[in-house]
Symmetry: C2
């Protein structure tokens, strides 16, 4: 039996004497990776629109890494949880209104990831449906379509093309970690629907799976496996130069 001397006789006495400034303390931030699906109108009237998988980035307007693009983030208040802080940022930076999916992703902690001081970042991943977005975009806050090949990111907006080196801090790594998490979770959860409009065709849903997984799926097999997560509505999507498709919604 250990017999270490105890300095206090009760917990309250101990707490009264506890000096919170005794240790060096790092900063703790959150970053929120906001993913969604964008629609790229097809050039040919007969073809369907192509979906793309996109992330919301903010151009930094201050040092360090000024003018690089970054994942929305900020420090956590002493009286809020990381999830609270993430929700707060989503409202202020992305103007999200409706229900969103938000989960903690990973905590990034490289010693020199921020040159100012030691900063831990509890990264979160949010999935949103752009239709719920009261937000038009600006010069400094933009959606970028994501391509990931050979471990290298390629992010494109209307007028910009970014690669890993154009991102602030370790944010390229955070994005890759998020994509990986999403690729896994899309297979065994229902989170895709958080990025979809309320009603959608199975062709659109399949496209979203394809761009996230980065591979083609077989329509017949896809329909079979997705069938129990989805219900048909009475409506059809018409107006295209081919057979109309039934609109479905999440079951």
């Amino acid at each position: 039996m250990t017999n270490k001397p105890k300095r206090y006789s009760s917990e309250s006495e101990f707490l009264a004497d506890y000096d919170v400034t005794k240790f060096d303390r790092p900063s703790v931030a959150v970053n929120v990776l906001v993913f969604s699906v964008s629609n790229n109108v097809a050039e040919n009237w007969r073809r369907t629109d192509k979906k793309s998988f996109s992330v919301l980035l903010v151009r930094r307007d201050d040092y360090p890494d000024i003018d690089k693009w970054s994942i929305p983030g900020g420090f956590i208040g002493m009286q809020e949880t990381a999830l609270d802080a993430a929700h707060r940022l989503l409202r202020s930076k992305a103007g999200v209104v409706g229900g969103i999916y938000l989960e903690q992703l990973y905590t990034f902690d490289d010693i020199d990831r921020d040159p100012r001081t030691r900063v831990f970042s509890i990264a979160h991943m949010a999935l949103i449906n752009k239709a719920n977005l009261h937000y038009s975009g600006s010069h400094d806050v933009q959606w970028f379509d994501i391509e990931l090949a050979d471990g290298k990111l390629l992010l494109t907006s209307d007028d910009l093309i970014l690669t890993d080196k154009d991102l602030a801090f370790d944010h390229a790594k955070i994005i890759k970690t998020g994509i990986e998490r999403l690729r896994n979770k899309i297979e065994y959860t229902d989170i895709v629907f958080d990025m979809m409009p309320r009603e959608f065709t199975l062709g659109e849903l399949q496209q979203v799976y394809e761009i996230i997984l980065g591979r083609k799926l077989i329509p017949a097999a896809f329909r079979r496996t997705i069938a129990n997560k989805v219900v048909a509505t009475e409506k059809m999507r018409t107006g295209s130069g081919h057979r109309p498709s039934v609109l479905f919604k999440k079951k």
Copy 2:
């Protein structure tokens, strides 16, 4: 284009003026959930030993939560990563020598999880093979066999039985999160082998899967699915009152 005034003309000038003490700062700790497999010698000479799934806990010898059992943990130094700190704790508290599996699990951040001050805990999960352990256990550091039923923990050592309320801070929640992660990962990774001795029978391996997943598996099916992760050695395990079994090792 936004035209926010910038206070500094270069990153180095900005950094020189940056005051790290300007904000309130929380503490950042790591906790390392150490899981392993224990062997319970059978009473009947003819039966095989029962395996159990166990976690290493430390009795707290100071306030707060004095005398409750806790997951080994400590604060992260300003010049080490969370993973470094986790390795350091494994060496000092568990005396682990050989290669171990260690991954970041989740960051726990409830505002009042520690009564002293705001403490973020970056929880990690370690899987170890007890054979690599230069450590005998003591009154204040013990292995507890884990049972999880209806979301309630039941932890038993030679002389103690603990439930959720006997654990310090939010450590019961951390243990449950770890079990869940392990249950998922055991299905699609090779991490079981990090808890196994170098050579083992397929019966033993199946038992480990069973205690972690919390359900019985069918021997024939188990052997088929595990076959490509494993190679037979020339050796047999004999001495039991029944047919000897081939010893396998990780492929």
